[in-house]
């Protein structure tokens, strides 16, 4: 596998940076090279936040932000309508994973134009069912794993165990498994 670049979109407080970090750590567990960084500046609660992850079989020598991502993950359900904002610079044939119940028409049009693979999952319901708070990050990580196969579900669950403990780890694992199962591909 050559270099795969992921860009995460969400809001401060939803765990965008944590999701990116967990993905990078899961890749490292599998013996791959990984790199991760948030976009600095707007990290207050509620502001739009962007984070970047790179995963590769070879040493990663590029350290800038991701401008032409292979994979885009939209963690925040209220940002799904802002198609131009998060699809900027996406590679042709890339993958988009969104947190949505219904897909906006504009997104479907753009996806067909750029030959993207579109996956969607209702992480809002999953997060509120499991945490009773708006933590969409780990459900979306589960959806990303299913959509791209970048890392295996087992290594993600192992990273969750290392990062969190007790009740929180259990809840995150439930959320990840449920999103992994519920994510759907748009055809």
């Amino acid at each position: 596998m050559s270099l795969i670049e992921v860009r995460w979109h969400g809001r401060g407080g939803q765990g965008v940076v944590t999701a990116s970090d967990l993905l990078a750590k899961a890749a490292i567990l599998e013996g791959k090279y990984a790199w991760h960084a948030p976009m600095f500046g707007p990290e207050r609660s509620g502001a739009p936040v962007v984070a970047f992850t790179r995963v590769s079989d070879e040493v990663i020598e590029i350290h800038s932000g991701v401008y032409n991502p292979d994979v885009i993950v939209v963690i925040d359900p209220t940002q799904v309508i802002e198609v131009d904002w998060y699809l900027e610079g996406v590679k042709d044939g890339g993958t988009v994973v969104v947190n949505a119940k219904d897909l906006p028409d504009k997104l479907i049009k753009e996806v067909q134009k750029k030959h993207l693979k579109l996956f969607y999952v209702d992480a809002y319901t999953i997060a509120l069912d499991t945490f009773n708070r708006a933590f969409y990050n780990t459900p979306m990580l589960g959806a990303l794993v299913k959509a791209t196969g970048l890392v295996s579900l087992e290594s993600v669950l192992k990273v969750i165990e290392i990062r969190f403990s007790g009740n929180i780890a259990d809840k995150n694992k439930i959320a990840i498994r449920r999103a992994y199962k519920e994510v759907k591909k748009y055809e």
């Binding site: 809001r11 509620g46 209220t78 119940k101 809002y124 509120l128 708070r133 708006a134």
Partner: protein, 104 residues
Amino acid sequence: MSKYPLKMPETAFEGKATWKKIPLAGIITEPTGPRYKTGNWRALRPVIDQQKCIKCLLCWVYCPEPSIIRKEDDSVEIDYDFCKGCGICADVCPVKAIEMVREG
């Protein structure tokens, strides 16, 4: 009367206005914050049960936004255009008249 515009043009907020249309020296001539509807950040929506409300106005005091609108008779209403769903009002309410429900 100044030859420079004294009102912020609508297009300034879409990034389309040039310096010629914006008031001189970056003066903000009117409150512009309310133009950004921040209510869509919300994950949980507060709903007031007017039957239970005792008009103590604690929610009105505590709301950080402030999105609690106080009316003439001290009853309250929520401004969903700006409420970010933090849940402080539901927490401070002594009679639990405010409930946080899911959006949509």
